[in-house]
Amino acid sequence: MTALRARAPHAGLALLIAVFALFFVLPFAGLLERGIGGSGTWDAITSDTALDALTLSLWTSAVALVIAVVAGTPVAYWLTHARFPGKGAVEALIDLPIVLPPTIAGVALLTAFGRKGLLGAPLDDWFGLTLGFSTVAVIMAQLFVGAPFYVRAARAGFASVDAQYERVAHTLGASRLRAFARIVLPLSWPSLAAGAALCWARALGELGATLIFAGNLQGETQTMPLAILSAFERADGLTAAVALAILLLAVALVALAAFWLLSTRGRGTA
């Protein structure tokens, strides 16, 4: 009897797992079924719109990632070790874009950097510099929503490195920079890599903030997610939307796989 009783929840659990898994697998199956079966998929994938959007998406998200890593690494390191009043508030503020709906991020960016924004207005008046509705705005939107993922992961990574290692490195003659490069960086590498991948993926998929702050101009601000949205909104545009979605999915998977390979290799040799 006990065996039966122990078994019953297993069956229930198995069913739950199957249903839950199906929920995530089915949409991809649908995408592929529609894409392979539909005519015009190849035309949509090789269209100028698609290539422009893909090119723009790839290089803007790459720039956003580089900025996030270059600026985010020292900030995360400092935040890990600094002690000051209101530190919790600062950390919450940095994490805020993670939970913020992207449309709010777009509106907020517009009120700060748009032509009539807090900083945007003086920039426009004095230098004739307009950030909104430009490729720069695309990168800014991606950075705004993506960088917090990197900083958060980097903070966790740095915090996981026993401070004793750094202290010992100092007593062995290492400068702060050398201790960071030789000890902290290799030991927190998995976290940094995971954070960078998340940051990049989030930047690549950015839609709401980009639409509001940067607009939807082909070749200039129309990234892949925006191109998919535009295609979908056209009459009979589902085929093109599906085709673009498959393209973006494939590129993202290849990039993340390459990234994963690189980072595990990097960890091995560090």
Partner: protein
């Protein structure tokens, strides 16, 4: 190589004040955890800054509050082995040991250090694949590799089992003489302290209570607290009856005890003193053999007995009104027939009694004593 150390600092509620020096020797910093031993090493290494003081390593001031000198850790020539070793987990043994080495002949010197510590065959292994003793040697090798002649060791053998500790202590004593090292060695293990120390610094609650040669600290503790910390089982409160030539007569619990006048201090008649005698220094005599009216002889009755195999610890109720603890080796225990007799005469040999001044410090620490006055 020499170290001159003087530092005062306040860390929250903890107040620290110590001053000592080291030549070519092993100085053991001894005390309970939280006494300030590890803090002392961090101050020497430059990982913490004292509020006041002066730290000189090999003639070079590395910290001086008055002139504002404060070299960062990487510019102080020390080798520091922290308690948890902190071997870099992502580096091999050779990379760990070579981390602090620079300049010409690096490879050759690295090989020498690895050989010296018998680590040659493990050079390409990661620390986690090493045994505790090998990790210990790797950490020691890494500290030595900087060719620092001042070595700071923080409870370096604490995580090891007894047989490895014995081996590594022997290795340390060998290295000290081979490499002309000054070693500051932190431990809370009394036997370890006794084994490796040339000089002993006894710490308690952020204060350096006594800094002296090993035998002096063990035979002539500066006060009641040092006596307690160094394992003196019997500490009696008494009053000086007569201060004669080289001999004091002290009244304690109605008994009259003779003891030598301590070095550098001559208590006045009527002054309160503490008298220390180690448990292994008390002799047992048969009750009928002597007249208990003589000085330094007491009647006692065994109230408690603990058998440790090689030794027995006996706790006597005595005429002093205090428990007197006696440690006796297994052989004399059997020869005297202690098991079959409860009442004994205790002899406290005058040369093994040590008279100490009653200081306010000592009074504050006396509550932790097994035998309170």
């Amino acid at each position: 190589m020499t170290l001159e150390f003087a530092a005062r600092t306040e860390l929250g509620d903890f107040s620290y004040d110590a001053r000592f020096e080291a030549g070519n020797e092993i100085v053991v910093l001894f005390g309970h955890s939280g006494a300030g031993k590890s803090l002392t090493l961090q101050l020497i290494a430059g990982l913490l800054q004292p509020d006041e003081g002066r730290i000189v390593i090999g003639g070079e001031p590395v910290f001086d509050a008055d002139s504002g000198v404060n070299l960062p850790p990487q510019e102080r020539r020390i080798g520091y082995v922290v308690q948890d070793l902190a071997l870099f987990p992502h580096m091999t043994v050779a990379e760990n040991v070579g981390f602090g080495m620079t300049g010409e002949g690096r490879e050759r010197r690295l090989g020498e250090v690895l050989d010296l510590m018998h680590l040659g065959e493990f050079r390409d292994r990661k620390p986690r694949s090493l045994s505790g003793g090998q990790q210990q040697r790797a950490a020691l090798a890494r500290a030595l590799a900087r060719e620092a002649s001042l070595l700071l060791l923080d409870e370096p053998f604490s995580a090891l089992d007894e047989s490895l500790r014995v081996e590594l202590r022997r290795e340390l004593i060998r290295l000290r003489s081979e490499l002309d090292l000054s070693v500051i060695f932190v431990t809370h293990d009394l036997r370890e302290a006794h084994l490796v120390a040339d000089r002993l610094a006894v710490f308690d609650a952020g204060r350096l209570l006594q800094f002296d040669g090993r035998e002096r600290v063990f035979r002539a503790p500066a006060n009641r607290r040092v006596a307690e910390l160094t394992g003196v089982a019997n500490i009696l409160r008494g009053r000086v009856e007569a201060a004669g030539d080289g001999i004091l007569t002290v009244e304690a619990g109605g008994a009259s005890l003779r003891a030598p006048v301590p070095n550098g201090w001559r208590p006045a008649e009527g002054e309160a003193v503490d008298i220390a005698i180690r448990a292994e220094r008390v002799n047992l005599r048969r009750l009928d053999a002597d007249d208990p009216g003589q000085p330094n002889l007491l009647r006692g009755t065994i109230r408690e007995e603990l058998a440790y195999g090689a030794t027995h610890t006996l706790r006597f109720e005595s005429a002093l009104g205090e428990t007197v603890e006696v440690e006796i080796a297994a052989r004399p225990y059997e020869v005297l027939g202690v098991a079959g007799q409860k009442s004994w005469t205790l002899e406290l040999p005058p040369e093994d009694l040590h008279v100490m001044a009653v200081s306010s410090d000592a009074a504050a620490g006396s509550s932790a004593s097994a035998t309170t006055a």
